[in-house]
């Protein structure tokens, strides 16, 4: 691809759409203590319910 062709193509992309830009990590968000606790509570909740569903599934197969 020539430099002119490349220049023409690049015009159709937004700057933050280029691979070099999207590969740059976005800054990490500072989670408040309350948000962290809520996220962990939700995490524990889905793990417990998932374990119940999987246990039920296995017991149905066994019986």
């Amino acid at each position: 691809m020539t430099a002119a062709e490349e220049q023409e193509l690049v015009e159709f992309l937004e700057r933050d759409q280029l691979v070099t830009d999207t590969a740059r990590p976005v800054p990490r968000m500072a989670l408040s203590r309350r948000t962290s606790v809520a996220l962990w509570a939700l995490r524990v909740f889905v793990v417990v319910v998932s374990a119940m569903v999987i246990y039920t599934f296995i017991s149905q197969i066994v019986h």
């Binding site: 691809m1 490349e6 220049q7 193509l9 690049v10 159709f12 992309l13 937004e14 700057r15 933050d16 759409q17 280029l18 691979v19 070099t20 830009d21 999207t22 590969a23 990590p25 976005v26 800054p27 990490r28 968000m29 989670l31 996220l39 939700l42 995490r43 909740f45 889905v46 319910v49 998932s50 119940m52 569903v53 999987i54 246990y55 039920t56 599934f57 017991s59 149905q60 197969i61």
Partner: protein, 458 residues
């Protein structure tokens, strides 16, 4: 990510060199710019639809269609017809957020969760996705196997067909090519609507069910909870979140395309709801005929659906339904494998685009094919509880969904990333209500089933 674009008094920085991925995406964007400049509205719509329709029709997959038809066969027409519409309305709210975040940030869901909330939450999300995707992929191969068995074709063909499809669609190194092939296949999801029409439902009963949401299902409370949870899992799932956001970014959508992205999402939901209701109405023929050839109370009932429909509604309906199951499984294998590839590539931090060659994005393509190969291998294991897996796949997706949705809502509200395109108050209220509703339904089924399994309730 939102950035200032060069304007008055702002000096444009020199553009970095284009990668082959950029060049491929740029060619697609050129066509979008050209259609917009010439005022070709239909061409513009054609160019910009894809991720939304694929996410919605991809989720009208084998286990979902089996679940809808089983619901129809168990309860007939009634509460579940409008309930399907409600779940797709919920799906539109969630998927619109995915599309918006992908178009504004140009990043996938896995990448954003990992970078914005840290590697722990990123890998939790990817782990949930890979687990549910594997279970769901097995269910898709089971659906293809059920469909093929109607034509007396064995499990080996189902396994080879599914993996061959993934490999075929991945060749070419272009997102556009992959998307159009899968869209072409997804059109045949309409076979479920054809099956419904051919089963000659009473239009008065269908209309009554939609308007009154009655009769409300009776019988076993646990079966009702299972079908509610699996119907939700048939419309809103973790893989759809990963897929639509990543595909929107891979396609090259920008904030200027949000309106068309919304058309795409709503069109997908309307089609998927129509075809999903078609599967339920086709299945309801079994209920109307007293369940001839079909026992809805049996946990593995889905296996005999095409055969039972053949007995009750004729060979043509059974054939169309079986072909529909093959299509539903095949399209879902492609979209779910893609979401696995995106998640793995984004979390590891390597190239993750269909616009790359297999050499450049080896991990992305390997995860795509690897997920399908593992699922295909499992359905070949003699005595594996395949149909139980198929029927529980949607429930598991429902149970794991709330965490994925909460992170999505947080990303869509992140003004540092989203700027003026962040969620409004109304969207947030609806989104939170959806999370609460899905959590309650998933937990109700999980707890009730567990208590029955350990004989604490009967």
């Amino acid at each position: 990510m939102v950035e200032d674009t060069p304007g008055d008094g702002v000096v444009a920085l020199p553009r970095p060199a284009l990668t082959p991925e950029d060049a491929a995406r740029s060619q697609d964007r050129f066509r979008v710019h050209d259609a917009r400049r010439r005022g070709r509205r239909w061409t513009l719509l054609w160019l910009l639809v894809g991720p939304g329709i694929l996410a919605m029709l991809g989720e009208n997959d084998g286990p979902s269609m089996i679940s809808y038809a089983t619901t129809g066969a168990t309860y007939g027409l009634g509460f579940f017809l409008p309930f399907i519409l409600l779940t797709f309305a919920m799906s539109v709210v969630c998927q619109e957020m995915c599309m918006r975040v992908g178009a504004v940030t140009h990043r996938g869901y896995g990448q954003l969760v990992l970078e914005r909330f840290g590697p722990l939450w990123g890998w939790f999300s990817a782990g949930d996705l890979i687990f549910t995707n594997l279970v769901t992929l097995i269910a898709e191969f089971v659906a293809i196997r059920i469909g093929l068995s109607f034509f007396h074709i064995g499990a080996g063909v189902a396994a080879v067909l599914g993996v061959a499809l993934v490999v075929f669609t991945l060749s070419g190194g272009r997102y556009w090519r992959w998307e159009r092939i899968v869209l072409g296949m997804a059109v045949f999801n309409g076979l479920f609507l054809v099956a419904a029409v051919m089963s000659h439902p009473r239009l008065g009963s269908v209309g009554h069910a939609f308007i009154t949401a009655s009769p409300f299902p009776g019988g076993s409370f646990n079966t009702l909870l299972l079908l509610v949870a699996s119907t939700i899992g048939a419309t809103v799932t973790p893989w759809m979140i990963f897929f639509q956001q990543s595909a929107s970014a891979d396609k090259g959508l920008t904030p200027g395309d949000l309106r068309h992205g919304r058309y795409d999402t709503v069109a997908g939901a309307v089609l998927a709801a129509l075809f999903g209701c078609g599967a339920l109405i086709a299945g309801a023929a079994l209920f109307a005929h007293g369940g001839a050839g079909f026992d809805p109370s049996h946990p593995l009932a889905g296996a005999s659906l095409p055969g039972a429909l053949k007995l009750v509604s004729g060979n043509a309906v059974g054939t169309v339904f079986a072909l529909g199951l093959i299509e539903a499984g095949a399209v879902a294998i492609l979209t779910i494998s893609a979401s696995t590839g995106y998640a793995v590539g984004e979390c590891i931090g390597v190239a993750h685009s269909f616009n790359n060659t297999t050499r450049k994005a080896a991990v992305f393509y390997a995860a795509n094919i690897g997920a399908a190969v593992v699922a295909a291998a499992i359905i070949l294991i003699p005595g594996a509880p395949l149909l139980s897996i198929a029927l529980n796949a949607n429930v598991l997706a429902t149970v794991l969904l709330p965490v994925a949705l909460v992170f999505l809502i947080m990303l869509a509200n992140d003004r540092e990333l989203m700027g003026q395109w962040a969620n409004g108050a109304a969207t947030n209220r609806i989104a939170v209500a959806i999370v609460v509703f899905i959590s309650v339904c998933g937990a109700a089924y999980g707890v009730d089933s567990f208590l029955r399994a350990v004989h604490l309730v009967s």
